[in-house]
């Protein structure tokens, strides 16, 4: 386009010159005259461009090139701006990648919106479904196109030399149709295979198939030994199919027995339904309410006051992650705002020194519109550069988060930079360019030419300084909000680290052993096997004692039972829900629980003797407040020969101190211990025939290998897994909150640094602008202390206003954190005071440096300036 225009204009001049030559003028003279007559070529071209309505893209490119040149001439500014921007954009992009993977990406099942997660609801608790209730709801409901149940299990896999433990699920045959996915090889279960007595079949995950079965398609139809049972693999499910996010490697038919189908007492099933087209969640909920009422009448013992709760599957699975991820997303958002405010501030400062350049452009005919566009383009260049560096930074940060993030956060490992995160990064890069570029640009565009040239070096534009001060105040306020949140989390973490777990955690090593398979169906055989392991472990060199417990502290989960105190009427509302622990007699001494009252278990506490139990203090308080519980009895766990209402009494022989079994930051729940020799027969299956082997050693060295070979020698094909020290388990449960705390502290620190840079920048600039005023004041006899005081006062007033705004913002923000805190209130005074003091101290330092520079002003030099 441009060259065509050139060609056309030159054609004109040459033809004109030729005509002149024809009239007898010498060719040299003719060209001179032709040019003269034509007028300024460049100006004509400019006017032509204007007239043509120049291509917006052309002009944009031109502006971008100009912006690039301007930035290259100010490398220090560009570097600082690009790096801080990269920090903001990178942090946002990385966190967004995580949020995208964990929360936003739909579950890898067909039409997840119509999937509903069902739980029972009893006394503000939400246990799983009893098989009986599942069977009834499946029969009676009209809301669900498909309804399936599953429960988790551990499986000992014998595909290689070393037996391996994998997580899996027992599922009803409707499971796969409910989630709507087909296997990549083979088929799903038939309803026949989901019947008791049918030969064992299994579906395996793509990952298990790839890592353990050599990705061999001919595996379909072949048998492998799972839990000691020959099992035919009928299919392989696609990659990422793990609808309940429970790390499932294989699926086995639930095959409920006729006895299980009428069991309304054991609540352990995950139930998922697919809503029929046109049925809303609310409609399903009201239908479930009707069914629950009917079942409560039919099965009053188990189902009185029991309801069913239905939630969207996505909420049920990912709801827990929302709060902390949103908190971190908000934190990086704040950080980006602070970064933008800082760059806007720098740009405003530069705008002052560039006023003459801009005024000159305006004088040469650039429209205000064009100047604003040009300044914006310069900021877009800055934003894009920051974005590119930020994405590189995010790439590294996502790797770090995936490697160090909490293991229990589902789908975290799927975080990566993909198209959607790159779109997000570009969007925030552009958005922030406009955020920090618009204010300076509009101001420059509207600056009056005459004023600019008149003002020379005298500071006049008070309004612009006010705007910069406003930005600094906002930065300080945002930084304080972040610091308060981080401070609360840090204090909370400190509290947690000082919580007494209730037992001696040093030199204890724990691993789970599951005695699956037909050989161990008899509880007596299981108990004898564990007793042999305890004896063998205790005999290992360096081992002080060994014990088994159904769920070691911090191992999570566990079984709970309703206890009925002797003398209370048999009514579900009199039941006290408590966690059952089945232990070997050596457990209390091995774990070093504190026996507060009564006696420990002995090997003589067998089924033939009085059934005994030891309870924790919380249960004692809940069941017999203010009384001595020793010798008192409660019924639980099994029924006598005369049927369900025939109580079996357990006599309390001891009370132990509370143990923080769910993690240091969790409340203690009622717990009771039953010796393994008195274990109710059905409890063997409740605990999945799996127990924790707990070993106390004399030194800190953990005999991992010795324990593994000991277990293998006693129970071939049975692995010991999750083997780690108690200290490691404790840090594992704190991983999550430490991760949140660490990230937030990092962002708060960056925010503090950036906002103090803001304070420093504004004050330095102010001192530089007022050199003359300061010089006059010094000449008139103002003391240096007076000058310092004035500058500091201004800096501290900015910080002070920001602080007040920040504290009120933080009071609102920290309230949302309440559920993440332990031992601190959201409005904790100590936290607020300390972060305020830190902020003021940093602001003081940031103000002092420019203040000291102000006192160095030489009045003679300052006055000569003009």
């Amino acid at each position: 386009m441009e060259s065509e225009m050139d060609a056309e204009l030159h054609f004109h001049i040459e033809t004109l010159a030729q005509d002149l030559v024809r009239q007898g003028v010498s060719s040299e003279e003719a060209f001179r005259r032709a040019r003269l007559e034509f007028g300024a070529l460049e100006q004509a071209k400019a006017e032509c461009r204007e007239a043509r309505g120049v291509n917006f893209l052309d002009e944009l490119l031109q502006d971008l090139r100009y912006g690039w040149r301007v930035l290259r001439k100010a490398p220090a500014f560009a570097l600082v701006a690009v790096l801080t921007l990269a920090l903001g954009i990178g942090a946002n992009t990385a966190i967004f990648s995580v949020v995208n993977a964990v929360l936003l990406r739909p579950l890898a099942v067909s039409d997840p919106v119509r999937l509903v997660y069902l739980q029972e609801e009893w006394r503000d608790m939400f246990p799983g479904f009893a098989v009986g209730n599942f069977a009834e709801v499946k029969k009676q409901n009209a809301s669900f196109a498909d309804l399936c149940a599953s429960h988790n299990g551990g499986f000992n896999l014998e595909t290689q030399d070393v037996p391996e433990r994998v997580d899996g699920e027992y599922v009803t045959s409707s499971y796969f149709s409910t989630f709507g996915l087909r296997p990549i090889a083979g088929r799903v279960f038939t309803p026949d295979e989901d019947q008791p007595g049918h030969p064992r079949v299994a579906l395996v995950s793509e990952r298990l198939w790839r890592t353990r079965l050599r990705a061999d398609l001919s595996i379909v139809g072949r048998q492998i030994r799972i839990n000691g049972v020959p099992t035919t693999i009928v299919g392989v499910m696609p990659k990422s199919f793990d609808p309940l996010l429970s790390n499932t490697a294989l699926w086995i038919p639930a095959a409920f027995t006729p006895a299980e189908i009428v069991d309304f007492d054991n609540h352990y099933l995950n139930v998922v339904g697919r809503l029929r087209p046109g049925i809303s969640l609310t409609q399903a909920q009201s239908e479930l309410r009707v069914i629950a009422e009917r079942l409560a009448v039919e099965h009053p013992i188990d189902n009185k006051d029991r309801g069913f709760q239905a939630r969207s599957l996505t909420t049920a699975l990912l709801g827990d992650q929302r709060l902390s991820l949103r908190m971190i997303l908000a934190a990086v958002g704040f950080l980006l705002l602070i970064v933008c405010a800082n760059i806007a501030n720098l740009q405003l400062a530069r705008a002052r020194t560039r006023q003459k350049e801009i005024a000159l452009r305006a004088a040469l005919g650039a429209s205000p519109n064009r100047i604003v566009r040009q300044l914006l383009a310069e900021n877009v260049v800055l934003g894009l550069a920051g974005g590119v560096v930020g994405v590189l930074f995010a790439y590294w940060a996502v790797d770090w988060i995936v490697a160090h993030g909490p293991a229990e956060m589902p789908r975290l490992d799927q975080s990566r930079l993909d198209a959607s995160t790159l779109v997000f990064a570009s969007a925030i890069a552009l958005l922030s360019s406009f955020l920090f570029g618009l204010a300076p640009a509009v101001r420059s565009g509207s600056a009056k030419l005459s004023e600019v040239f008149k003002s020379a070096s005298v500071a006049v534009a008070g309004s612009r300084d006010r705007f910069r001060s406003f930005l600094v105040v906002a930065e300080v306020a945002l930084a304080l909000v972040l610091m308060a949140c981080a401070g609360l989390l840090i204090r909370s973490a400190l509290f947690v680290s000082h919580v007494d777990p209730g037992f001696d955690t040093s030199n204890v090593i724990v691993g789970r052993v599951g005695l699956a398979g037909p050989d161990y169906r008899d509880p007596a055989v299981g108990r004898q096997t564990f007793e042999r392991m305890i004896a063998a472990a205790a005999a290992l060199p360096g081992v002080e004692s060994a014990a088994v417990v159904s769920r070691a502290p911090l191992a999570g989960l566990g079984n709970s039972n309703g206890l009925l105190a002797e003398g209370a009427a048999f009514d579900p509302s009199n039941l006290v829900d408590a966690r059952l622990q089945i232990v070997s007699p050596s457990y209390l001494s091995t774990a070093r629980l504190q026996l507060k009252l009564g006696r420990d278990f002995t090997p003589q506490d067998t089924r033939e003797r009085v059934l005994v139990t030891i309870i924790n203090e919380t249960l004692a308080r809940a069941m017999w407040p203010g009384e001595n519980p020793i010798g008192k009895r409660f019924a639980c766990c099994e029924s006598g020969p005369k049927g369900r209402l025939d109580p079996v009494w357990h006599e309390v022989v001891g009370v132990v101190g509370d143990v923080r079994a769910w993690g240091l930051d969790h409340d203690v729940k009622p717990e009771f211990y039953i010796p393994i020799a008195q274990m109710p027969p059905s409890a063997w299956d409740w605990i999945g025939r799996t127990m924790d082997l707990e070993v106390r050693t004399r030194a800190s060295a953990a005999p991992v290998r010795e324990l593994q070979s000991m277990v293998a020698s006693i129970a071939p094909a049975v692995p010991i897994y999750h083997l780690s020290t108690m200290q490691q388990k404790i840090s594992g449960t704190l991983e999550r909150s430490h991760f949140d705390t660490y990230l937030l502290a990092l962002f708060a620190g960056s925010a503090l640094l950036l906002s103090s840079l803001g304070v420093y920048g504004v004050l330095s600039y102010m001192v530089a602008q007022r050199t003359r005023d300061i010089g006059i004041r010094i000449a008139l006899g103002a003391s240096r202390a007076q000058i310092i005081k004035d500058v500091l006062a201004f800096g501290m007033s900015l910080a002070g206003i920001g602080l007040v705004l920040g504290v009120s913002g933080a009071l609102a923000a920290t309230r949302l954190l309440a559920s993440l805190l332990y031992g601190v209130r959201p409005a904790d005074i100590i936290t607020f005071l300390s972060v305020s003091l830190i902020l003021l101290a940093v602001a003081l330092i940031a103000s002092y440096l420019p203040a000291r520079r102000a006192t160095r002003v030489d009045p003679i030099v300052a006055l000569r300036y003009e």
Binding site: H12, T15, L16, F38, A44, E47, A51
Partner: protein, 113 residues
């Protein structure tokens, strides 16, 4: 020189439309044609010719294509579009009405006032 007149503001567009309505012309040709028709009584700022051409083309009243000039060089030729034809017509009518009115005012006699 003194028999040449400066062009009235806003009339250049109309004259260009008229010039190219008689046949396709390159920029220099437009200039020559106008001077020729006006018998050299009108002076056109050569620098302002091209912005006007580009403006008219942008507005869609004329269109251009590259062709060969009489001296065997590549040149850009402008021709009138249908819209340009209508525009020329209305502009010409407007101009004639305006000229009548102005002539009427200037030709008024004192007695009639």
């Amino acid at each position: 020189m003194d028999k040449q007149m400066e062009l009235l503001q806003g009339t250049l567009d109309m004259l260009i439309l008229k010039a190219v309505s008689l046949g396709p012309l390159h920029g220099y040709g437009v200039l020559l044609r106008i001077q020729q028709i006006s018998k050299d009584r009108l002076e056109i700022q050569q620098g302002s010719l091209y912005p006007a051409l580009y403006r008219l083309e942008h507005q869609g009243w004329i269109t251009s294509e590259w062709g060969e000039s009489e001296n065997k060089r590549k040149a850009k030729y402008y021709r009138l579009t249908a819209a340009g034809k209508r525009k020329l017509q209305t502009e010409a009518e407007k101009w004639n009405r305006m000229a009548d009115v102005i002539a009427g005012i200037l030709g008024a006699n004192p007695e009639e006032a």
